[in-house]
């Protein structure tokens, strides 16, 4: 059961408090579970404090996304035995993420939102941000991928030769 008028106060890792409507928090498995565990009274509209390990700036982004997606279907439709695709991000979400692209710390923002969506168990946001990252990697060469992810090659010569052999058909 959802009580749309109920408001929830979230305390972030840097100590700020944000109050949001239950209509938004119902999309977060973590917050829903916290509220259920508190076993609040049906008729009460409490200001429950839920501590989340997410910083204030990131939580603002999460709430902005939740506000747009407040009417999304629940439970979130999870696809299991189906090919996943990353090219179906809705236009609003694309624009939402593109706003970060102009910022110097765009990758850190993406990292922080992915981590927050995971911790708060917001499946739609997690999928969307993971797809965004996948799209940055899709179609890139091995060298470009190393560049984007800043990863050194730590394979031995033999391992590298083995991977090259396996990947011969898909290495450009």
């Amino acid at each position: 059961r959802i009580y749309p008028l109920m408001r929830v106060t979230l305390t972030t890792s840097d100590g700020a408090s944000v109050t949001v409507s239950r209509q938004l928090t119902k999309h977060s498995g973590f917050i829903e579970k916290a509220i259920t565990d508190m076993a609040v009274d049906d008729n009460a509209v409490p200001l429950s404090a839920v501590a989340v390990d997410v910083d204030d700036a990131t939580l603002k982004l999460v709430i902005e996304w939740l506000t747009e997606h407040r009417d999304d279907a629940l439970p979130y439709p999870e696809k299991t035995d189906e090919e996943r695709r990353a090219d179906d991000i809705p236009a609003w979400d694309q624009a939402f993420v593109q706003k970060w692209d102009t910022k110097e710390d765009q990758q850190q923002t993406l990292y922080a939102v992915i981590t927050a969506a995971d911790k708060l168990d917001i499946k739609g946001l997690l999928d969307m941000t993971c797809k965004t990252l996948a799209n940055k990697i899709n179609g890139k060469t091995v060298e470009e991928m190393r560049e984007i992810l800043q990863l050194e090659c730590d394979f031995t010569e033999e391992e590298l030769a083995e991977i090259r052999k396996e990947n011969a058909w898909c290495e450009n």
């Binding site: 990758q107 997690l126 993971c130 996948a134 190393r146």
Partner: protein
């Protein structure tokens, strides 16, 4: 204090030497798997650019709708895919009898496939590799299989597949053999108690036979039903000694009724043996 140290750790992790990169290794393994699940297969295999990502790729299952396997793929690559991917439709294009092709052919049975199709396959490799035991292995890896007939599949091999499909004891529900040769096909029918002589079917078993008969009286194909199981025979098998052959386990009553649709098929009598 823990709040402070965790945020310092976060800074070190994500604010590192280059502000413009994504610190994928800072994420828990499950999240990296989730990100990998959105990569195209080629990108996914390319993206294992260091040991940890390679390990994560190897350790996570994924699904591919459609895959073609060609002779220019290496057996190592095919093995890697077979290990983790479940495949919607797998198409095999292999010709030429060499070690690499043999190895690839042998790996087909390691896959988890919905629909397996030998799209273009050399006769030599088919004849050498597609023996009864291999066909039986394939019943466990795919739900439907479309293959070309070859001399190495015997009537007993067909019988084993028939039993497997009928008992639902493996994964296979549909076998489609192009250009089956009459001798193993008739021997198989005889093995399950059905014979055909001078245009008449003889059997003591509880079967129904339907035929598609054209206006001029010629039979196009025959469908033999045993409960939900159908044995389909192209009439060329009777006339010229080779033709299409199918074993189908109908999943629903509707599908079974459709296969017997009186608008297209005539029920023909089966005489006792």
């Amino acid at each position: 204090l823990s709040k402070l140290s965790s945020s310092v750790g976060m800074d070190r992790e994500i604010g590192g030497r280059n502000r413009g990169y994504f610190n994928i290794l800072g994420l828990p393994t499950e999240l990296i798997k989730h990100i990998f699940s959105f990569l195209d297969m080629k990108d996914r295999l390319r993206a294992r650019v260091n040991k940890r990502l390679d390990g994560i790729e190897l350790d996570s299952k994924y699904h591919v709708d459609y895959l073609k396997i060609h002779h220019h793929h290496s057996p190592d690559f095919v093995r890697r895919i077979a290990q983790n991917a479940s495949i919607g439709s797998l198409y095999i294009y292999l010709s030429g009898l060499n070690e690499s092709n043999r190895e690839i052919f042998n790996l087909i049975k390691e896959f988890d496939i919905d629909k397996l199709e030998f799209a273009r396959i050399g006769y030599e490799i088919l004849k050498e590799m597609m023996v009864d035991s291999f066909l039986s292995d394939l019943t466990r890896s795919c739900k439907s299989m479309h293959m070309w007939a070859c001399r190495s599949v015997t009537s007993d091999g067909l019988y084993q597949v028939y039993k497997t499909i009928k008992d639902r004891s493996a994964k296979l529900r549909i076998l489609f053999v192009n250009d089956i040769i009459d001798e193993p096909a008739f021997a198989f029918l005889k093995h399950i108690g059905i014979t055909f002589r001078d245009g008449t079917f003889y059997s003591n078993r509880n079967i129904e036979v339907y035929q598609r008969i054209m206006d001029n009286g010629s039979v196009v194909f025959t469908r033999i039903f045993e409960g939900y199981l159908e044995i389909f025979l192209d009439h060329f098998v009777f006339m010229y000694g080779w033709g299409n052959f199918k074993l189908i386990l109908h999943e629903t009553r509707e599908s079974l009724e459709e296969a017997k649709n009186p608008e297209y098929f005539d029920r023909v009598e089966v005489s006792p043996e």
